[in-house]
């Protein structure tokens, strides 16, 4: 096992920092000590696999999953999960969760009687990537919503994504945003990544190819996970 090929490390600025002063929730939760470098071992280059995970096409349809039809602007969200070298990440679990069209989450902590829940919208889904790393969800465009971070703070419209990839080292939870959202320049969560080119990876692209005539606009959100330090011989 000597010289095991690990996964590439973060380039400074291309990932957010936890101690980001503009994000108030981080003040009591971000560690104060520097992280300790850990060369990757078998523990980090392995991780949960999804070969036997059941395929469930209904779980990728957030609009009709509860019987009726969810309220809101219908959208199709597609993309590819690849590594830094552009290689597709096949059969990995992609999960998402989001607010409804009015900007409310179906969650005990989100109690705003003036913003109703949609009985036909749960707000979560999952799917597995195909052999080319592709995934596809049908959902509604989530609403922007206020939060308590600072005076008159509003989150831009976003969809939470969770992706595993092939190893413990590749685990990623992120958020997808929409092009042209006027709230993006003011959002500390979006802006916690210093590098602009990296940050703009979080903004989906409007996509004619996946837009369904008379039905739903298409948005493309490609996800890039850490790549290998060097290629393991058996891959």
């Amino acid at each position: 096992m000597a010289g095991i090929p690990g996964y590439r490390r973060t380039v400074p600025g291309q990932q957010p920092i936890n101690a980001y002063s503009g994000y108030v929730s981080s003040h009591k939760r971000a560690p104060s000590q520097p992280l300790i470098d850990l060369p990757h071992t078998l523990s980090e280059i392995t991780g949960p696999t999804f070969e036997d995970f059941p395929d469930d096409p209904k779980a990728a349809d957030l609009i009709s999953g509860r019987g009726g039809t969810a309220i809101g602007e219908r959208i199709v969200v597609t993309g590819r999960v690849r590594d830094e070298d552009g290689r597709p990440v096949r059969r990995t679990l992609v999960e998402l969760w989001q607010a409804n069209a009015g900007g409310r989450y179906r969650h005990l902590v989100d109690q705003r009687p003036d913003v109703p829940l949609d009985p036909n919208f749960e707000g979560c889904g999952h799917t597995l990537t195909d052999a080319e790393g592709r995934y596809r969800f049908v959902t509604i465009r989530p609403g922007e919503y206020p939060w308590h971070n600072h005076h008159n703070a509003w989150r831009p419209a976003h969809i939470h994504f969770s992706v595993f990839g092939p190893a413990f080292a590749t685990r990623l939870v992120t958020q997808m945003y929409f092009p042209g959202d006027p709230l993006l320049p003011f959002d500390p969560i979006y802006n916690s990544t210093a590098d602009e080119e990296a940050r703009t990876r979080l903004i989906s692209a409007f996509d004619w190819e996946t837009t369904i005539p008379n039905t739903a606009l298409g948005y493309r959100f490609d996800i890039v996970l850490s790549g290998r330090d060097r290629t393991p011989m058996e891959l």
């Binding site: 936890n18 071992t41 078998l42 080292a169 939870v173 916690s192």
Partner: protein
């Protein structure tokens, strides 16, 4: 040309909408080989307050020291009732609890065995990126020479080692201090 990796973003306060279905706090089926154990603890913030909106994900080898993953090519058995992955949200008080088996030793760099450990990711509102840490076990001679523990200042190593619950053989306590006095060691992974 290399692509830029997608930046991480916080899970926020509402992740249980998306993660609940995948939760798993009972990692080992009854017949799985090895010592069946329970690990319980609490995630606290810089004020010592419980963190109710955090999520732990765990990854470990089975009792033979074998990961259920194609890149673990060791000649050791994989067990059908043990995947090695756990996902445990904290409760209103920041507490968590999961049952598993005590992992066996897996190789580290240079082929030397690492001390038995569980890899842990911690997600929470307030954390833009997951925190990565490890759970080790008390009374393991291999802890003295473990390559990851050796990278940690001696006075902080204890944050990575679970404590035996007094009078109990299979119950361990392991807490996560996100910030401040007794802060848990987190790794750049």
């Amino acid at each position: 040309m290399a692509l830029i990796p997608t930046p991480s973003q916080t899970v926020g306060p509402y992740f249980t909408i998306g993660s609940t279905r995948g939760n798993c706090d009972c990692l080992a089926a009854p017949g799985v080989a090895g010592k069946h154990i329970v690990i319980a603890g609490r995630v606290v913030d810089g004020d010592g307050a419980g963190v109710p909106d955090s999520l732990l994900e765990t990854w470990q080898a089975n009792s033979y020291g074998k990961y259920a993953h194609p890149e673990d090519t060791q000649d050791k058995p994989i067990e059908p009732g043990f995947r090695g992955y756990g996902r445990i949200p904290t409760d209103d008080d920041g507490k968590f609890c999961f049952s598993t088996i005590q992992p066996g030793a897996v190789p580290g760099p240079d082929g030397q065995p690492q001390a038995p450990h569980i890899a842990v990711s911690i997600f929470a509102r307030g954390l833009m990126r997951r925190l990565v840490t490890r759970i080790y076990f008390p009374d393991e001679a291999a802890n003295e020479t473990d390559f990851a523990l050796s990278r940690v200042e001696p006075q902080r190593r204890g944050t990575l080692i679970a404590r035996k619950v007094p009078g109990q053989d299979v119950q361990f306590e392991w807490n996560v201090v996100l910030q401040g006095a007794g802060e848990t060691v987190f790794f750049d992974c």
